[in-house]
């Protein structure tokens, strides 16, 4: 009987041990919560690469230590992987910078035709500086509200009566065609009136007649208030307008006319500009005075 009770007690104790075993395990082992900051622009992002460990319970079994050891191995692997990734990212950045430098060098070489010449590179830099100065000058001379443009008048034009297109009946001439052929001596005109957003350009055109062998002259310049222009006008320096109108017959970008329009800061008005929109500024000689 005693023997029977002892074996029963042993069996009961074993049963209890098995039942309560899970409650002696750590309650949480979370992977993926150990973090370090990565700077991304102005924001600091936090990237999780591993976790902290929380243990509860008083009896830590060998299996638990196995888990902890495995977890630390995982953390180690995660750190190694993260460091490897960081290394790769830095490698990519260094490579990108090198490519960028090479590209700039090549571009300079390409446009100058001399890959190694520092003189040529200096020339390009000078040109860029000059271009920047020119842009600054243009910005100063442009109406900051964007509401006024300038036009140089021919002697036969009377601003008190308005300004009229040279050939309003020539409807078939496209904006791009007007820009491309407008500077040619034999151009028969179109329904568009050329104006410029830049006073600098207007002054240049008023003093040197490109349509008459660059002869010196002193033509009148008028300022046009676009808010009083009743017809449609097209700011050809606007990329969206360029995309729509400064294209060839197949709808492809037409780089040459875009460059022409940008250089002259061109804005075209359809058919006529009413007298109310025109203010006579005078001749360059008068403006200097």
């Amino acid at each position: 009987m005693k023997k029977y009770h002892l074996s029963g007690i042993i069996a009961l104790l074993m049963f209890i041990s098995i039942c309560f075993f899970p409650f002696f395990q750590p309650t949480s082992i979370k992977a993926g919560e150990l973090s370090f900051p990565i700077y991304s622009g102005e924001n600091v992002e936090t990237t999780y690469i591993a976790s902290t460990v929380t243990t509860t319970g008083t009896d830590i079994e060998e299996t638990f230590w196995d888990s902890v050891t495995e977890w630390f191995d995982d953390v180690g692997e995660n750190i190694d992987t993260a460091l490897e990734s960081i290394k790769e990212v830095f490698g990519a950045i260094v490579s990108y910078i090198s490519e960028l430098i090479t590209t700039v060098d090549n571009a300079i070489g390409l446009f100058t035709g001399n890959d190694d010449s520092t003189d040529e590179i200096d020339d390009v830099n000078d040109t860029l500086d000059q271009a920047k100065d020119t842009i600054d000058e243009i910005d100063i001379s442009e109406d900051t509200t964007g509401n006024s443009v300038y036009r140089v008048l021919r002697e036969d034009e009377d601003p008190t009566k308005g300004i009229f297109a040279k050939a309003p009946e020539r409807e078939h001439i496209t904006i791009a065609g007007h820009v491309n052929n407008g500077g040619k001596k034999n151009f028969k005109g179109s329904k568009y009136i050329s104006t410029t957003k830049s006073l600098e350009v207007a002054l240049k055109n008023a003093t040197s007649n490109i349509m008459d062998k660059g002869s010196t002259h002193d033509l009148r310049i008028v300022k046009i208030d676009l808010s009083k222009v009743t017809n449609t006008y097209y700011d050809l320096t606007n990329p969206k307008i360029q995309e729509k109108y400064l294209v060839n017959s197949k709808g492809e970008p037409w780089e040459k006319v875009r460059r022409y329009a940008n250089a002259s800061r061109e804005l075209l008005v359809e058919y006529e500009i009413p007298a109310a929109a025109i203010k006579l500024l005078g001749r360059p000689s008068e403006l200097q005075e």
């Binding site: 496209t174 500077g183 034999n186 060839n248 017959s249 022409y260």
Partner: protein, 210 residues
């Protein structure tokens, strides 16, 4: 022989140099010697590069078609030495372009069905362009037939990446039609013919460039 990447780089240099040259002339800034020299250098390279081929890239063809006509027109906007300088440069560029397009017989292209009609109409009645050159005036009817043939060709070649050399030569003739306007006004004193030539030029211009 340069590879494709190298050729594309050289084409980009030619395009930029041409634009720099033309923009400066249009805005009254005068003749850009550096840009001109680059254009000459590139055309000389291409002449050697494409000596044995019958077609050349469209980007280069476009430049070849317009360059002499544009330069000639701009030379008229300047005076004295500057004008002469531009005209001299224009003529030199024309010579280089002609050298680039040499070597492939027009007869070869005439066999291509797409171009047969165009060549036939141009050659009719003593050659359309020869008649213009010699002051015989503008043949409206012949022009209409030529225009129709040219229109269908332009639709077809739009998707092509290269153009046959002999066809580029024809396009140059069309693009330079507006230069006859000066000849008919100043040399032949035929204002009406000059007017008709200009109108025809504008139609062709829209077809091949605009």
């Amino acid at each position: 022989m340069a590879d494709n990447i190298e050729i594309n780089k050289l084409i980009a240099v030619l395009e930029q140099s041409e634009l720099n040259l033309l923009v400066d002339l249009r805005t009254g800034d005068g003749f850009n010697e550096k840009a001109y020299e680059k254009v000459v250098e590139m055309l000389t390279l291409f002449e050697k590069e494409w000596k044995e081929v019958s077609s050349i890239p469209k980007e280069v063809a476009t430049i070849m078609v317009e360059l002499y006509g544009e330069l000639y027109n701009f030379s008229l906007n300047y005076s004295g030495e500057e004008s002469e300088r531009i005209l001299k440069a224009a003529k030199n560029i024309k010579r280089l372009i002609e050298e680039c397009l040499e070597g492939i017989e027009e007869a070869q292209l005439e066999k291509n069905q797409l171009f047969t009609k165009l060549f036939a109409y141009i050659n009719e009645d003593g050659h359309f362009f020869e008649k213009l050159r010699s002051g015989k005036g503008f043949d409206d009817q012949q022009f209409e037939k030529i225009y129709e043939a040219l229109e269908s060709i332009m639709d077809e070649v739009h998707s092509w990446e290269t153009l046959p050399k002999a066809f580029i030569t024809i396009l140059i003739n069309f693009y330079e039609m507006d230069l006859f306007v000066y000849t008919y006004q100043e040399e032949f004193h035929q204002e009406e013919e000059a007017d008709k030539i200009y109108d025809a030029y504008e139609r062709v211009f829209e077809l091949i460039a605009g």
